[in-house]
Chain length 131, copies 3
């Protein structure tokens, strides 16, 4: 298992971790298999989405905020239930295929760590499975 | 492939299955790999979220009910379309990394079976992949 | 890695790809393992849901349109931010267990390609991992 560290700077923020994931895959020197990306936090998630125009990530974050407002009355006393809900909506893990020693992503795809209760220092776990 | 059984007691309910998944992983005696958890039902899902304060799961369920109310008019005649929608929003499978013969979860993470159309007797499938 | 092609015919549409995925798994002749299904597009996703009554897929699509309307004002200039958001809500990959050379799906489960910005010619990648 390999680890990445991410420092987030806003309460809600998408951090592009594609380059860091590629580096681990390259370093592991696996010809073909699967890279599983896992978020060990309950107020953050992972998603794959557009890496070209940053306004897409901003639109996703703003729309999620509209669907699950922080200000809404929740029972959980820490006041961050919105972050837990958004985390489950995005999901805690991703599968990315490895072929010819490289991550297989679509032309416009990037891998994003989704911070919903920052700013914080966060961890991401990677597991490479050979086929 | 291994199977778990879960008996749900409410129409919508999160059931913590972490201990049962850990037991299967321990029983399989795999040093390192991946545990894939799969829900074979279309009105239930799986998620990873906070295992400390049960109010988090209640907040998630209540907020999903607000976003996808059961009472809303749907075309599907069984009257449980809300459950199908919530199931797709949570997802039908999870990846959990196995390292040193143990499930790798964050400090506050638990694995939840998400019932959206109970109460029912439900199944969960587990597949362990060695790396 | 194997590839599927899907031609979508509407802006938003669920396409049942279960038979095509089964065919690849059968062709690969793997007794036991995992089939990872991956969507390389950022305005489309993948989900597993009911394959019996087509009104379920219509209800999911209509409800997602209500939660994330195309008409809403977004900053992304291409005007398809709703499709990016829906894609992240459904997710870009699926795990399906292979046992006795067959995909393990629940009785009512089908695998769906979720088009959110069609009509288009789309690709799906499949990776089979032996255990």
């Amino acid at each position: 298992m390999r680890r990445l560290e991410v420092k987030t700077r806003e309460r809600t923020q998408f951090v592009d971790i594609t380059a860091q994931v590629r580096e681990v895959v390259s370093d592991e020197n696996i010809v073909s298999g699967l890279c599983v990306v896992f978020c060990p936090h309950t107020t953050a998630g992972l998603t794959i989405n557009e890496n070209a125009d940053p306004s897409v990530c901003r639109d996703i974050l703003a729309h999620l905020e509209g669907l699950v407002p922080q200000s809404r009355k929740f029972t959980h006393s820490e006041g961050n239930s919105d972050a837990h809900i958004k985390a489950s909506m995005m999901g805690s893990s991703l599968n990315v295929i490895i072929e010819n020693k490289k991550l297989v992503l679509g032309t416009w795809q990037g891998i994003y760590f989704c911070e919903f209760d920052g700013p914080r220092q966060r961890k991401i776990y990677l597991k490479i499975i050979k086929d």
